[in-house]
């Protein structure tokens, strides 16, 4: 019974002594140790960013920024056990900085009517399953638009990024019971969601 699945998206430093050691070394200024951690989290952070902006090129740039920012700040990390939550918080802030600037730019272009004349590449990209992918991300965005900002963020971190409740609470700097309340409401809405459920793929066992 219960969510035995999706427990924390893999490495939790509290359960992974090898990674905890790498974090301690990185905090002490060991570049190689930081690169080790970057190898562990690169793909996950990229996926986390991509799922929020669905643009591959921008996701690459933001991921780059996130790791530079983490590299420059890692020495000030007081509790190495919180590395993962700390990294995800940097990532979340970088994504939100990007979205805020993008919105400001779009408001500006609306006023100045300086819209780009050139072709705008489709951020989702090509490929044989292009239509399904586009449909999925569009429907997911529509679903998220029906959630409050906190419900949306908690739901994403828990069920798309695979963080456990405690990690979600750390990333969002909220207590666990608040996170659970938001999560409860979000799951309740997900349960009633019909447009999205038809697009979900079966897992291959």
């Amino acid at each position: 019974m219960g969510m035995a699945v999706m427990q924390g998206g893999g490495a939790d430093l509290r359960d992974r002594p090898d990674q905890a050691a790498a974090v301690r070394r990185a905090v002490a200024g060991d570049r190689e140790a930081f690169e080790e951690l970057m190898n562990t989290y690169h793909r996950r952070i990229f996926a986390m960013v991509y799922s929020r902006i669905t643009s591959r090129m921008d996701a690459e740039d933001i991921t780059q920024e996130i790791f530079v920012r983490a590299f420059q700040g890692v020495r000030s990390l007081r509790d190495p056990e919180l590395f993962k939550s700390w990294l995800y918080r940097i990532a979340l802030n970088a994504v939100n900085d990007f979205l805020r600037k993008k919105r400001l730019r779009s408001i500006f272009t609306l006023f100045t009517r300086e819209r780009d004349e050139g072709e705008v590449p489709d951020p989702i990209g090509g490929g044989p399953d292009y239509l399904e992918r586009k449909e999925f991300w569009t429907r997911l965005k529509e679903f998220f638009s029906r959630l409050s900002p906190s419900e949306r963020e908690v739901f994403r971190l828990r069920f798309l990024d695979g963080l456990c409740i405690r990690e979600v609470a750390e990333v969002m700097e909220k207590n666990e019971s608040t996170v659970k309340t938001h999560l409860y409401r979000a799951v309740e809405k997900f349960r009633r969601e019909r447009d999205l459920s038809g697009l979900l793929k079966e897992e291959m066992s």
């Binding site: 019974m1 699945v5 920012r69 700040g73 000030s76 007081r78 990532a91 970088a94 697009l199």
Partner: protein, 180 residues
């Protein structure tokens, strides 16, 4: 299915179980274990969430570029902006100016105007050197400096949030590199 009020079918309990099964008491757990209706509901909901995660992962491309870290070591918590490099720079420019002055004296003395020129050049040299050192201390392009924790906090950011709020995130969040 039990008739007991406490253990009646309740979709709220199923959702609570999905969120955190440890929040259910013994009675509620037993009901969820034994009731076929609730078990089916739980199976359907958990399956949906798992498929959502799986589909999102399927439809997410892999990153192509590996992030490139700055060449320098990871930054010290608060490196003084004007350290030994400024001291050396100032000493060097002073020595240079004195050398020029001595050379000018040996060539037949300096007029009061020349002294003023030397003093002005000396001040200009120092300003230029200070600028170079500031640039050295902040080698990142503006785009990176914008996202550094010091730059993203403060009143400007609050005004910015007010004007252009971010959809997916409450605006009361602090800077990403806040110490934890």
């Amino acid at each position: 299915m039990s008739d007991d009020k406490k253990t009646r079918c309740d979709i709220g309990q199923v959702i609570r179980c999905v969120v955190d099964e440890n929040d259910l008491d013994g009675e509620q757990r037993r009901h969820l274990d034994e009731c076929p209706v609730c078990r089916e509901e739980l199976r359907r909901l958990e399956g949906g969430l798992r498929r959502l995660e799986h589909t999102a992962a399927e439809y997410t491309p892999g990153p192509v570029r590996r992030p490139a870290l700055p060449v320098e070591e990871s930054a010290q918590p608060h490196r003084p902006a004007f350290g030994w490099r400024l001291a050396w720079g100032t000493a060097f420019s002073l020595a240079l100016v004195m050398l020029i002055a001595v050379w000018a004296l040996f060539r037949g003395g300096l007029s009061p105007e020349s002294y003023q020129d030397v003093a002005r050049e000396m001040a200009e040299d120092e300003m230029l050197l200070a600028e170079v050192i500031v640039l050295e201390e902040n080698p990142l392009p503006d785009a990176y400096r914008e996202i550094s924790p010091e730059e993203t906090s403060g009143i400007d950011e609050e005004i910015f949030d007010f004007i252009v709020p971010v959809e997916g995130w409450s605006t009361d969040q602090e800077s990403g590199t806040k110490e934890v």
